[in-house]
């Protein structure tokens, strides 16, 4: 993406027609890996939490018994731990290469954005906050996964190797780790089911799904609507130009959609719904 940002303004018109690369192959694989691990760990972990439920018993027996279930759980846990290390390693590598973009770093602006969004949602204001590469909701989810992932890994390893942990720590940390592991897992599940599913699939802005994380691409309408600051940084130019930008680049559908109320944000939003990627 860095090379895109250096393109000259004269080529902007051509560029904005294209899709932007949002996620690298490595990042897409990381998401896929996390997704698979998450599903597998829940499938093998929840039946242990809700061990009385008949569906749990069915699942455990289908997987060949509780010993198999725990074995599978630990295999995916290991994969998850490695993917977490890979993530940290990839960040470290990009820092040493001077390519690191701290776009996920939380800032004061995110809290301001959240407040502005709240004002917009309740109708006190008509302008949405302008987000950079990641908006406050995405940052919240990312850091939630980082925090939750660390908790799950630490408590999970405690449960896996209780005799090693209790060489240093008091025995009570083992049942506490179990309580934390099970609580954090339930929290993660509920957050993913409500929040993530809404944000990327069920929300009218994205339905039937924002597939950027799988295709790696984002349409120009979408990046301009949802990540205007990043868009500006990528293509150059001033932020104010964005207000007129939609007219220049809008597709016929977008124009039609915006004809009703003439609200540019709304118009861009509806075009964002279109599954423009293959």
């Amino acid at each position: 993406m860095a090379e895109i940002a250096t393109r000259s303004r004269s080529r902007r018109a051509a560029l904005v027609q294209r899709e932007f690369v949002r996620f690298s192959v490595s990042q897409r694989l990381e998401h896929l890996m996390t997704m698979v691990c998450f599903a597998a760990l829940l499938a093998t972990g929840l039946p242990q939490k809700f061990s009385d439920a008949s569906v749990s018993i069915w699942l455990v027996n289908s997987l060949g018994g509780i010993d198999n279930v725990r074995f599978i759980h630990r295999i995916f846990a290991t994969v998850f731990i490695f993917s977490a290390f890979y993530h940290v390693g990839a960040i470290g590598l990009s820092i040493t290469r001077g390519k690191f973009n701290p776009s996920m770093a939380p800032s004061l602006r995110d809290f301001v954005d959240a407040l502005v969004m709240l004002r917009y949602s309740v109708g006190l204001s008509n302008s949405k906050p302008r987000f950079g590469r990641y908006d406050y909701r995405q940052k919240f989810e990312y850091w939630g996964i980082v925090y939750g992932g660390i908790i799950m890994i630490v408590t999970g390893l405690t449960l896996w190797f209780p005799t090693y942990v209790t060489r240093i720590l008091p025995g009570e940390v083992v049942p506490a780790a179990k309580e934390m592991h099970t609580g954090e897992a339930l929290l993660a599940l509920l957050v993913i089911v409500t929040w993530h599913m809404y944000s990327v699939i069920l929300s009218p802005s994205h339905f039937p799904g924002d597939w950027s994380i799988f295709t790696g691409k984002i349409s120009h309408e979408k990046i301009k609507e949802e990540h205007p600051l990043e868009y500006v940084a990528l293509v150059g130019g001033a932020l104010e130009e964005l207000e007129e930008a939609p007219d220049q680049v809008q597709t016929p559908t977008a124009v039609a959609a915006s004809a009703g109320d003439g609200e540019p944000e709304r118009a861009a939003e509806s075009t964002g719904d279109e599954p423009s990627k293959g």
Binding site: I57, V60, S121, V122, P175, M180, L187, L190, V191, T194
Partner: protein, 375 residues
């Protein structure tokens, strides 16, 4: 009142009397048939030698020196004390010939046995004429498996119940334990030292389990199978999860729940639901508390006494160190006093999860609301 108005009442009276008479006749007839059946049976039983009286039997068998030698060289006594028999549970119901049907001719038919044990194993079959149900149960027992494997000394009816002085064993828990101890002496010695056995011995406590409470009676199963191991948890829980019974002794009745909530118990729970029989390595009650020698948890010798817990844990967790045993909350529910870290972690998620989810749903709702208004 005219005659025509009165006749239905007469009719009812006749009907009533008629039906009573019919009923009486029917009862008499049935009785007649039944007695007719008996009278036809009577000659048949009279023909059989069942009429051999006890006196006839005792003319020989009341001699304390009456004996018989067997091909093995063993001698078995043929003496039976009629007084002992009359005091037994069968004393007022049976006569000699009711059981010893094949010996109703004198001289008795010859026996095809070599040893005294052969003789006893042949004679015990007599019990099944009346006690067929319990007899078939013994065929499903592990004692019978031992017989089938070639051990002639595995118990048969008369080994536990005796032949002639049969008492109702279920009436006396002490007697049950003593009966089993005839063969299982070492286990009995452990048992009488245990919290259960000593209560039975010293006070005849009817609440404590005896051998048959846990092992069953006639269809006694092997206690070394995976199935027994898995079922043992519920076996102990039959008493130890009963609040009424445990309150009597000031013991927690929460032990099963706290066990099943923990890692070990959950594993056992899943094993119980598994169809294939796998050996459950996970500990069950008696792995930590002991089996026949089970003690009070505050007994200095208890394997679950705090001071003794580490060696108990090490039986499975070989590399456990001093801190490890307190990872097990000793059947306590976490509370501020007991396991505060666990308690606060639990409370933390109890509050955080609803707050987080309600917050996120509110955010979603606001987003949807705004989108709807934009439309």
């Amino acid at each position: 009142m005219t005659r025509s108005a009165r006749w239905p009442r007469w009719f009812l009276v006749w009907l009533g009397m008629g039906s009573v008479a019919l009923a009486v006749l029917l009862v008499l007839f049935r009785g007649g048939f039944a007695s007719a059946g008996q009278t036809t049976d009577a000659p048949a039983s009279a023909q059989a030698p069942a009429s051999m009286s006890d006196d006839e039997c005792l003319s020989c068998h009341s001699d304390p020196d009456a004996s018989m030698s067997l091909p093995s060289g063993e001698t078995i006594s043929l003496y039976s004390d009629p007084a002992v028999f009359r005091r037994s549970v069968h004393g007022d119901k049976l006569n000699c010939a009711d059981c010893h049907v094949r010996n109703q001719t004198v001289p008795h038919p010859s026996l095809n046995v070599v040893t005294a044990r052969d003789f006893h194993r042949a004679e015990y079959e007599l019990c099944k004429r009346c006690h067929f149900e319990n007899y078939t149960r013994t065929l499903d027992s592990m004692h019978f498996d031992v017989v089938a494997a070639g051990n002639a000394y595995a118990p048969v009816c008369t080994d536990c119940h005796t032949a002639h002085s049969v008492m109702r064993l279920a009436d006396s828990h002490v007697q049950i334990a003593k009966t089993c101890s005839k063969c299982h002496g070492a286990i009995y010695d452990d048992y009488v030292q245990s919290v259960h056995g000593s209560a039975l011995q010293s006070e005849g406590n009817p609440d404590v389990p005896v051998c048959t409470t846990c092992h069953g009676v006639h269809n006694i199963q092997s206690a070394t199978t995976a199935a027994f191991r898995l079922a043992s948890v519920d076996m102990c829980a039959k008493c130890h999860a009963s609040k009424k019974l445990m309150d009597k002794y000031g013991i927690s009745s929460n032990v099963l729940k706290t066990y099943l909530d923990d890692f070990h118990g959950k594993t056992t729970g899943f094993y119980q639901e598994q169809s294939s029989e796998v050996w459950p390595e996970t500990p069950v009650c008696f792995d930590c508390h002991g089996v026949h020698n089970i003690t009070r948890v505050d007994d200095p010798n208890s394997p679950v006494m705090k001071e003794n817990l580490l060696p108990t844990c090490r039986r499975c967790h070989a590399d456990a160190t001093a801190n490890f045993p307190s990872a097990w909350l000793s059947h306590y529910e976490p509370s501020v006093k007991k396991a505060p870290i666990v308690f606060f972690v639990r409370e933390y998620y109890r509050f955080l999860i609803p707050i987080m989810i309600v917050g996120l749903i509110m955010h979603i709702s606001l987003d949807l609301w705004r989108l709807a208004r934009n439309r």
